[in-house]
């Protein structure tokens, strides 16, 4: 074989193998909720991440608890590398030893984050929202401006509440009576008085949106992101920045699985998702609050429920429950709520 022929062969081999080499990097697997959550994170975070680093990203989608259950049974050899979940469920991952400690030296973008984003050594906030009041102005009379308005008798049989996690309304009731999530018993009697106003309880985001959309529950304690989503669909919905007590903040977080063999790539992914540019796109897509304080928020979103752009706003417009108290109290809260509020 002469040199020219050998060179031709080598060129062919190189051309054939080159694209393969580019995608041959070991993919990282990201666990997240399905639907819009996965689609948005794939488009805004995963694809640019792969373009930048060459590391492909695969997804494992499912409900919060399905994914937690899977993580538990595959603890010895984790099937995923990065997990998105709510902050208090993140506590359960930690308590079960499913997360590893984050190496903050590998997450330089964390320096730009609001302090509220640091939920623990092992999980970090990626976006925020609030549980607040959403209502259909075309189906009810008057305006709702504060949490206490929910107790108005004119809303008899009109309110929808989440029953999968009653911590928000329990905490609000306690706050209105001078308590908080630790002294939640202070709000029990007030919450019992809300019972006649409840039309239905919901256990999924989809159901909460259905209830408001169909008018079965024209007033709801709702995730701000879902309220914005309904507005985008043309449903007449008003989201309230309550004047008496703040909305109850939820922070979705990322954690890196203990035992992953791709910890470096996972840290790169986490860092990438916290970057200013990516956070700006996530804010625009979800209409959620950025955890990166450097991220620019569109004018029409500034001041909206769940969107905080400065330490001052985080302090004044957000009420963040203690994650550990919330995780520990969830069972007794749920039991009390079912017995006293849900029961007919």
């Amino acid at each position: 074989m002469n040199v020219r022929r050998l060179a031709s062969w080598l060129t062919v081999v190189a051309v054939v193998l080159a694209p393969g080499a580019a995608v041959a990097a070991d993919p990282i697997v990201v666990s997240i909720w399905g639907g819009n959550w996965k689609d948005t994170v794939e488009k805004i975070v995963a694809k640019p991440f792969t373009a930048k680093t060459g590391i492909p990203v695969e997804f494992e989608v499912g409900g919060t608890l399905d994914r937690l259950a899977k993580a538990r049974v595959s603890k010895a050899a984790p099937l995923v590398d990065v997990t998105f979940t709510t902050t208090h469920v993140g506590r359960l991952y930690i308590s079960d030893g499913l997360y590893q400690k984050l190496d903050m030296a590998k997450v330089p973008n964390a320096k730009e984050l609001a302090k509220e984003a640091f939920r623990s050594d092992s999980h970090i906030g990626v976006w925020a929202y609030v549980y607040t009041i959403a209502y259909r102005p075309d189906l009810i009379q008057g305006e709702i401006t504060k949490w206490a308005d929910l107790w108005d008798p004119k809303f008899k049989g009109k309110i929808g509440l989440p029953d999968f996690d009653p911590s928000h309304i329990i905490t609000i009731s306690a706050l209105l009576e001078g308590g908080d999530e630790v002294n939640w018993q202070k709000g029990q009697e007030r919450l019992k008085r809300l019972k006649p106003n409840v039309a239905a309880f919901y256990s999924t985001d989809a159901r909460s949106q259905d209830l408001l959309k169909t008018g079965e529950a024209p007033v709801e304690v709702m995730l701000s992101i879902n309220g914005f989503h309904l507005m985008d669909q043309g449903v007449k919905v008003k989201l309230v920045n309550p004047t008496d007590k703040p909305g109850i903040v939820g922070i979705d977080t990322m954690g890196i699985m203990a035992g992953t063999k791709k910890a470096d790539a996972a840290h790169q992914f986490v860092n990438f998702a916290l970057g200013k540019d990516i956070q700006e796109q996530l804010v625009a897509a979800f209409k959620a609050g950025p955890t990166n304080l450097g991220a620019k928020v569109p004018d029409d979103l500034r001041g909206q429920p769940g969107v905080f752009t400065s330490p001052q706003e985080w302090k004044e417009r957000a009420y963040i429950m203690n994650d550990e108290v919330r995780a520990k109290n969830l069972a007794p809260w749920k039991e009390w709520f079912n017995a006293n509020i849900v029961a007919r």
Partner: protein, 249 residues
């Protein structure tokens, strides 16, 4: 496999629940004491009531259709009935239940009484869900009855109603028994219908198991409740099957 799953369930039910953690503690009977409280027993009682009501109403509604399916002279009518009976099987339980939400809610119809998120609405959904199976089981049983028995009774002067009560119904009792047991058993474990049509206000056993496991993260409590519910289900089925066997005789 069932034995392994049952053993795992019982094992989990005897472990201590640690709030705020997925780890479990040592052996305890606290989970059973907790789920045997009136708050939880009420859900089991309501599930029994809904299941029995569903079974009875489904039987009453399905019998005439099954009779027509088995006895219609026209092959075209039989085919039409069969297609109408089988049609719901081609849509999933979730789709059917969402359709009922639209029907029972206020979107299209103004009902004089509230149906959605009430036991009555759940009952309607459960009956509709159970109808096709009951119809097929009853139709199979009725088609095995020799029509000459009915004709003989009629020729001896029995009116149609008497023929039905004294001949057709007794001879179809094996089908009635099978249909009732099947409908009762699966209604007892119904999940999507009460979950969606109950709006959180009407909960059956499976909804409470899910609440405890997936919302409260109380897996030992959920396992204990599931074990108690399983025992109650078996007891109810045993009582019912004994009663139906007596009727068959």
């Amino acid at each position: 496999m069932f034995g392994v799953a049952l053993t795992a369930l019982l094992q989990q039910s005897l472990l201590e629940f640690v709030p705020g953690s997925l780890r479990t503690g040592g052996l305890t009977d606290a989970n059973f004491r907790a789920v045997l409280a009136p708050q939880y027993l009420r859900y089991i009682w309501e599930t029994i009531l809904l299941s029995v009501a569903t079974t009875v109403l489904t039987l009453v509604a399905a019998y005439p259709v099954a009779y027509a399916l088995a006895r219609a002279r026209s092959a075209r009518v039989r085919s039409l009935l069969l297609v109408l009976t089988l049609a719901p099987f081609f849509t999933g339980a979730i789709v059917r239940t969402y359709a009922w939400m639209l029907v029972l809610g206020n979107s299209f119809v103004r009902w004089p009484v509230k149906l959605l998120f009430e036991p009555s609405g759940v009952l309607i959904g459960l009956v509709h869900f159970s109808m096709p199976t009951m119809i097929l089981i009853l139709a199979a049983a009725i088609s095995h009855i020799d029509p000459r028995y009915e004709r003989a009774a009629a020729s001896l002067g029995a009116r149609p109603a008497r023929v039905f009560w004294r001949v057709t119904l007794p001879l179809s009792m094996p089908g009635v028994a099978s249909g009732c047991l099947v409908v009762l058993a699966w209604t007892f474990s119904a999940f999507p219908t009460p979950e969606l049509l109950g709006g959180g206000r009407v909960k059956m056993v499976a909804n409470v198991v899910k609440d405890l496991a997936l919302d409260s993260f109380n897996w030992p409590g959920s396992a204990a409740f599931a074990a108690v519910a399983l025992a109650v289900t078996l007891a109810v089925l045993a009582v019912m099957s004994r009663g139906l066997a007596r009727l068959e005789r």
